[in-house]
Symmetry: C2
Subunit: 359 residues, 2 copies
Amino acid sequence: MEQQQAAPMARNRKVVLREYIAGRPPREDDMVLVDGGTVALRVPEAAAPAPAVLVKNLYLSCDPYMRGRMRDFHGSYIPPFKPGSVIEGLGVARVVDSTHSGFSAGDIVSGMTGWEEYSLIDRPEQLSKIQQSDIPLSYHLGLLGMPGFTAYAGFYEICSPKKGEFVFVSAASGAVGQIVGQLAKLHGCYVVGSAGTNQKVELLKGKFGFDAAFNYKEEPDLTAALKRYFPEGIDIYFENVGGPMLDAVLLNMRTHGRIAVCGMVSQNALTDPVGIHNIFCLVPKRIRMQGFIQSDHLHMFPQFVSDMAKHYRDGKIVYVEDMSIGLENAPAALVGLFSGKNVGKKVVCVSQELSQCTF
Amino acid sequence: MEQQQAAPMARNRKVVLREYIAGRPPREDDMVLVDGGTVALRVPEAAAPAPAVLVKNLYLSCDPYMRGRMRDFHGSYIPPFKPGSVIEGLGVARVVDSTHSGFSAGDIVSGMTGWEEYSLIDRPEQLSKIQQSDIPLSYHLGLLGMPGFTAYAGFYEICSPKKGEFVFVSAASGAVGQIVGQLAKLHGCYVVGSAGTNQKVELLKGKFGFDAAFNYKEEPDLTAALKRYFPEGIDIYFENVGGPMLDAVLLNMRTHGRIAVCGMVSQNALTDPVGIHNIFCLVPKRIRMQGFIQSDHLHMFPQFVSDMAKHYRDGKIVYVEDMSIGLENAPAALVGLFSGKNVGKKVVCVSQELSQCTF
């Protein structure tokens, strides 16, 4: 063992969860940046019997589902974080060392990693190798990653779209919504989006090509607003927010409408979610309302990557991301999701080494 | 014209809607029994250009959807009643006179008719002829009629049932629920029903063969009750009631569960429906929640009648109805639905002439 060349060492800062939260959205001080000391840039021998991969994290993804992992709730499809331990999330990383035959130093990968500079990944099977191309690496956390795939699977598999139908997307400039709207336009639908600032509304209309968009914060009566934008009613609602918007949509749905429930970002707490009053509309309008998670549809992933890369290269789909620079800004980046501070897909650039950070 | 033999005359009492109701369930005095004078038992000449049928009503059906027609709300799939006019509903009747080539005096028919002794039906196309058999005529308003077909279409088309799945039915002893439970048992499912009296609970377990049943009024915590009856969770919920039961079910659903929304009889008013707080469960559990109306599935009707008649004759499905005798008791019969007074399918016997009334 002593013959082995000493591995280079590196500082490893981490973002850890302080303690579980309950009944409120996360705050910055729920997370703390700690100095994890220095780590040897080699998969440790102790990990040797099971193959592992040591990566340098480049980009980290901030996603709304992560809030659920900050709660002491074990009944979900993904376990909670552990207080005092590093936050986990999707990321793009460079392999530094590997004892897994599928990965070698220098590979670029995406998958579950830690909110830290270097992560030892003991389940490398869940990582995917990324071929570097003209598509920015960070887009593998958005356009070509989980949010893009959520949009793709949700739109094609859950919404059952038909050409000419009326589609409404809430949180429409977000990581998922911006893609849903563009896919719906490519499908020949009429598409309206809602967002929480006029800047986002302009983005929806100007950049993403929505037929119309509105700032829900400036609408005193959401039911009336939707009636204005959809005088004939809504065939498809891609639900990202929940709460009063869902109630207003239910009153404006058309017969045989479909609601794909992707998330409910307005529902900050499991402890006292807002009541939905118009569920009775499901019967006379024969509405199908369906929750989904992208991971149930992974058989479509290769087709998704191929379709989406082509659309992007053909200029038929554009993508907007909102990048924070530096691991120390990751807590604020995540927290900002729940008050709509991000404009587009929120990512954190941890390392500038592959020079694709836009700074 | 004067050569024509004078038609026999008959008294014709009617139940009319007094005025629209709002924000509450119907009361008996919302309807009034009026003397409609005497009518000639012949399709009047004035109706001659369009074929019409004059029927003597035998059985009338009391159904929860009728409440919706007592409101001044025109956005539904069926228009409201008119104040001062006779209540309409499904019924079984004998044809007295017909100018429609498809019907002759003496035919027994089912379809939309009036809450009166004799009805002139100006859209006879919607009537179906009934072959008299060993199955009671009134069952064409239940087991072999709209409620039975609602159960059949809802269970097979909306619930996507699989053998061995865990099925929960609310309002389970009602016109629809009792059939859903029995179909689910025939399909190899584990079936639990809820009802509002211990008598109904005994009926569910004893007569309809549910695996278990409970009185929801005796359960202080519906979520805990469902957890007790479904320790592994619910795959299929056949929703007849809405409100707090739906919230409790959402917390107890299994991954990929299905909720067929047939009706929400607990939701007495459009004006202030109870809020549903646990809709967020749709996402992590990937629940499909779907409203439906039997008339969208009419292609299955012939198969339904054939299947159900066979099940009945084979003793595999039983049916319980709750009959009121006399048109004067129809308002109370309808009103009783909304406080659960009926035990089984509620019908009103208007005429004893075919001697199948059980009195």
